[in-house]
Symmetry: C2
Subunit: 414 residues, 2 copies
Amino acid sequence: MSDPLPTPADLPAAPRVSSPSSPVGLHRVLEPTGDAITLPQAARRLDARAELWPDEVRIAVETLNLDAASYRQLAGKHTVDGALDGAALRAEVLDIVATRGKMQNPVTGSGGMLIGTVDAVGPQSPLGLRAGDRVATLVSLSLTPLCLTDGLAGWDGRSEQVPAAGHAILFGRSIAARLPDDLDPHLALMVMDVCGAPALVERVVGEYAARDVAPTVAVLGAAGKSGSLSLAAARRAGAGRLIGVVPVERERLLLEPTGLADEVVLADARSPLGLSAAFEAAGGPADITVVCVDVPGCEQPAILSTAQGGTIIFFSMATNFAAAALGAEGLAADVRMLVGNGYVPGHADLALSLLREVPAVRTLFESRLAAESGSPTPPPPQHTEQSSTAAGVTGGGSQLLGVLPREAGEGSAR
Amino acid sequence: MSDPLPTPADLPAAPRVSSPSSPVGLHRVLEPTGDAITLPQAARRLDARAELWPDEVRIAVETLNLDAASYRQLAGKHTVDGALDGAALRAEVLDIVATRGKMQNPVTGSGGMLIGTVDAVGPQSPLGLRAGDRVATLVSLSLTPLCLTDGLAGWDGRSEQVPAAGHAILFGRSIAARLPDDLDPHLALMVMDVCGAPALVERVVGEYAARDVAPTVAVLGAAGKSGSLSLAAARRAGAGRLIGVVPVERERLLLEPTGLADEVVLADARSPLGLSAAFEAAGGPADITVVCVDVPGCEQPAILSTAQGGTIIFFSMATNFAAAALGAEGLAADVRMLVGNGYVPGHADLALSLLREVPAVRTLFESRLAAESGSPTPPPPQHTEQSSTAAGVTGGGSQLLGVLPREAGEGSAR
């Protein structure tokens, strides 16, 4: 109970709690309880009280960044005749947070991340944060205790980025990254949001490089955030030929001049034949295929387009486990398939270093940020492809020639 | 059109088709067609005609082995007041095959496998089969063109193993294994049905062994078919400590005397706390965790119980991709997560060699086979845990102390 550090946790407003805590946050789970207790992500309701357990950190919230799938669902629900009802959307988000003690979309199950300032650090927190640090949380909002105090008055509902006041709690085993001084925080957030992808790509390509192999790497959704960072990471880690796959001409024109890929091809990632033909024409099949396209149905095409003995990394949250497992077996495909874990140690720093060192990546991200900021009406630019996502889900006759999948990227791993 | 080999494909009853074929079977897809064409597994309807394309093989069917999830769904649907309506079940299977040209359960999406005798080999087939070979198909029934001719008259609906007459088609890129002469075909089939699991476990453990590391391996569902084979494969590949996790005392008593695991522990694989505590008590956390328990909700427990830098292999078809990806991130867990690909070259031979070389494996499989054959009423023994599976799905207050998950194994990868 003795604490030599005069952290804000000592302030009367935030007395520490003395009952035992769990590094993964079980002590904050209010529902379910007892023998049925779950980890915070699966919990229906969390305890979002401001008081800290000794290993926790409290953040004063500035901005919530709703994950793309969640925002799309909410915005769609509250759009009538093409007009977004911002007040209704705001009310629903407030209700979710008040009811669940966290911002977890009940339909998509996803959350997002947040930016804020550390305002209290428990004496036993292992995270290395200090009061006053401006941070982004890299664990999902779907497991982060959250309390909002401003009624989201500063948010018109027209953006995933939600100005907000209130507090959030980090557990002993959470992840937060200090926002760098040299970058626009929104730019940094955008990069950190997808930083697991380039980190895992670097690791996998590095395994090949350690054996003096320069693998051919193909990235599906290559013009997107996770896709472009994955290309840059693969290049730096020693990849050989880099193939970038994009669904529409507009993205081809965006990606091609950057040189991030050696070859940019236009293909529907849901079409087994179209994709494998595109890979072949571009010098494939790939030794490593990175799936960053968040539409369903990319499993078998990716498998069919990857060399025997190769690796597929699925970052898309639309990936269906059974489709991947059965798809590989059905094609007698000896491929290693990795679930894209959003956490790799050092992932945020790695992604930020790519942004700093690779001008093409920075240009892509800055233009995307400008487009998002400047969007006058919902849905913002990255959601204009929303209808194509729906087409991807429903399938149908125009599946391959009609609207094409959007590239993934925004918070796809949260 | 000239064919020097007098294969049965030359018989008038099976004229070869001269239009181009695809090694993955696209030429047999009847619905959807055109630009929307899918691979056979995703297709609504296949062309199951007896005539062969030059790279195909035709099998005279003896036995269908419905996958466990499919049989469970169908048997459950046609069970009223605890009594199975075998005729209704038979009629539904016949209707599915007649309608779709394959045995793919429309609810579960899964199929199974079959035993039969090769009765025609196209001159360009790369599979190395000859007419008269008795084989098991190792690609799913969900993508195998199938035509039944006996109305399933020999099946009372009370077993996953369905005596059947008719024909099935293998494509250029299919997998079939000759049934060994020294083993009961049902025993061989039972082993081949789950042979992807031990093969992948052997490969992953072998990666550690090549670095002179003897990893601690934990298997969830260790008394089951895929689980026990995985333990044996891990041992042979150079694993260190082997932990077998089972859900019920009966299975502990079954597994413990075999010595397949160094430590057998009783734990609910859906309980993050229970499982990680059990691992720790048994000398964990594990470097490699193998998930063979086919109930939902094992992702986070497996992640929490695996060492940082470790590997999780998900063989359970109940695995949820997003739960795994988000679960690892939410726990800041640096774990490699592999989708359990049911195909690894040589997998059938490897699994059969384990059966032959490891008496404990053979004993487990033979006793299981005897139990299944001797089951007088549905559901057969491996399905008496059906209710616990349902409990696993629905969750609820008794989740952890009440009924426990069944172990996976039967056709879980098909």
